[in-house]
């Protein structure tokens, strides 16, 4: 009984955060803020669902696979977000106008600053 409640809570909140991550892609204003939503909420969502899977099946091989999935997600999701954000920043994708950019950032990275009038 308690196990079932625990599993339901995990699956439902996992689904909720997956929904938030997807909706974030649609609603948030620019690519970098969207990466916040997918990297954080998406990782937590899959972690919660895998926790429910591990608790529900409970046998060693399923638990081992669930743990492996979570570990690989924790390793790869931030790297993916990092690479997409890096590519966007280096190629000068227009950002949401209120974004304040540290003037040293382009110099320190050795990339060209996009011209101001590119920004919407």
């Amino acid at each position: 009984m308690i196990l079932e409640i625990f599993m339901s809570v995990c699956v439902l909140s996992g689904g909720f955060f997956a929904f938030v991550a997807g909706l974030g892609i649609l609603r948030l204003p620019d690519v970098l803020i969207r990466m916040h939503a997918t990297a954080k909420a998406g990782t937590l969502a899959s972690g919660l669902i895998m926790l429910a899977v591990a608790a529900g099946f409970g046998d060693a091989s399923t638990v081992a696979r669930a743990v492996a999935i979570v570990v690989f997600l924790l390793l790869t999701a931030p790297v993916g977000a990092h690479m997409i954000g890096r590519a966007a920043f280096r190629s000068g994708v227009p950002l949401w106008p209120p974004t304040r950019i540290d003037p040293d950032a382009h110099i320190k990275l050795g990339v060209k600053k996009p011209p101001e009038n590119d920004r919407p």
Partner: protein, 159 residues
């Protein structure tokens, strides 16, 4: 790291003696073995050479990380689900004290999953980290927060 091997050996011995070669069996064996080693630590050179401190720091880092992941997800959820965009984003340069590729990798990965910040790029010499922050009213405060929070914990765990 030989104490770690000894601890693994104790975990295997526990699993063999209780006849439970399962994941929870091995985990319990590891915990019991850790307790036993901790009790006899005056017997080892150097009191175990910091093994116990390091395990404690790793556990502290993991707890901190999970807590921050949950907090940041709620923050993102609030920003996505409320009608107005609350974010005041900015791109910030943060000086990195972490040395070595493993430390930098762990710091950047953890920063991406903690509230309000997403690591964008690292300079060639690994001295500066460029992050995108959701609430960048005070760039210095964010830099200090990362330096004293995640980065210090990571350096303590890996040193």
């Amino acid at each position: 790291m030989s104490l770690f091997l000894l601890n693994l050996l104790l975990a295997l011995a526990w699993a063999a003696l209780t006849g439970q070669f399962t994941l929870p069996g091995l985990a319990i064996g590891f915990a019991v073995g850790f307790g036993a080693l901790w009790l006899v630590q005056p017997l080892f050179e150097n009191r175990g050479g910091g093994y116990f401190v390091r395990v404690y720091r790793w556990i502290r880092l993991l707890v901190l990380f999970h807590y921050e992941l949950v907090v940041s997800s709620f923050q993102v959820a609030r920003d996505v689900l409320t009608p107005r965009h609350r974010a005041r984003p900015g791109i910030i340069c943060i000086p990195l004290k972490a040395r070595g590729e493993a430390e930098v990798l762990l710091v950047t990965n953890l920063i991406s999953l903690t509230p309000g910040t997403l690591s964008l790029d690292v300079t060639e010499d690994c001295n500066t980290l460029v992050v995108h922050a959701m609430f960048a009213d005070d760039p210095k405060a964010i830099a200090r927060q990362i330096e004293n929070g995640i980065e210090r914990r990571v350096r303590e765990a890996l040193e």
